[in-house]
């Protein structure tokens, strides 16, 4: 899995590319979040547009990111999840944990409204 990082306003957008399955991905993800929080960046949008699929270990990776930004007083939301990923979030009730947006604009705006 590849992760590229960009910023819009007070939000950091992580564009993921590949499959989210645990293993080495988990470490990469944890490091990215650690470094973001060290820099005081705590509002994160995870862009799942180019994520073809995810397994339950991949969900765990998202939850670990969520936990670390929440602890720092921020939030994590996802955007552009495929139908397949949406249905996994729904079944595991993780849609109650992190909000899922269809547009980047809405996703970024969600932080302003919350704070």
């Amino acid at each position: 899995m590849k992760i590229t990082q960009r910023e819009i306003g007070n939000a950091v957008i992580l564009d993921l590319n590949g499959k989210l399955t645990g293993g080495p991905d988990a470490d990469t993800f944890r490091e990215v979040f650690k470094s973001l929080i060290d820099q005081g960046k705590k509002n994160v949008v995870v862009n799942l547009e180019k994520v073809s699929w995810i397994n339950s270990t991949g969900l765990g990776i998202l939850i670990s990111g969520y936990t670390s930004v929440r602890r720092a007083g921020g939030d994590l939301v996802v955007m552009h999840a495929s139908d397949r990923i949406e249905s996994i979030l729904y079944v595991t009730k993780l849609n109650l944990l992190f909000k899922s947006f269809e547009s980047e604009e809405e996703a970024v705006k969600s932080f302003t409204l919350a704070s």
Partner: protein, 147 residues
């Protein structure tokens, strides 16, 4: 052309390495499309199968490069069944299947069986050939509402 159940099956044999999950996913998706599964049913069987394979690699074979995961896919007119076999010691699957309470929302693990149950019509476990075999079944989903 007489076709028996054993004829209409594809067997995938992979190392205990997550790198191979994508190939399994790609194969099941193409095959389910070929057998006219609805797109919801295609997503559901792929998700459940990948989850079973992930567990076989991680918990069953503990990433041991000498151990294999064998996935048998069977399609017939209306439904799909799969068996995912690892070379591990197994676990108390009955307790896990009976478990009704979802994991703590903040827990990073423990959602695999829940996902497999949700995305299949039938889920069972048995021991075979020195390993655990997870069996999944799913209807093709064109003549009933999807969950």
């Amino acid at each position: 052309m007489g076709k028996t159940d054993s004829v209409e099956q594809m067997i995938l044999n992979i190392p205990s390495d997550l790198k191979y999950l994508g190939a399994v996913d790609a194969a099941i998706q193409d095959l389910a499309r070929e057998f006219s599964f609805s797109s919801d049913a295609i997503n559901d069987v792929s998700t459940a199968l990948i989850e079973a394979c992930s567990n076989a690699i991680e918990h069953g074979n503990r990433f041991d490069p000498a151990k294999r995961v064998v996935v048998t896919l069977r399609f017939n007119g209306q439904s799909f069944t799969a068996c995912v076999k690892d070379e591990g010691p197994g676990f108390n699957f009955q307790a896990a299947l009976d478990e009704k309470s979802p994991p703590d929302p903040m827990s990073e693990r423990g959602r695999g069986l829940m996902i497999m149950k949700a995305f299949t019509d039938r889920l069972s476990f048995r021991y075979a050939d020195g390993g655990l075999c997870v069996e999944l079944a799913k209807h093709r989903g064109d003549d009933g509402p999807e969950e």
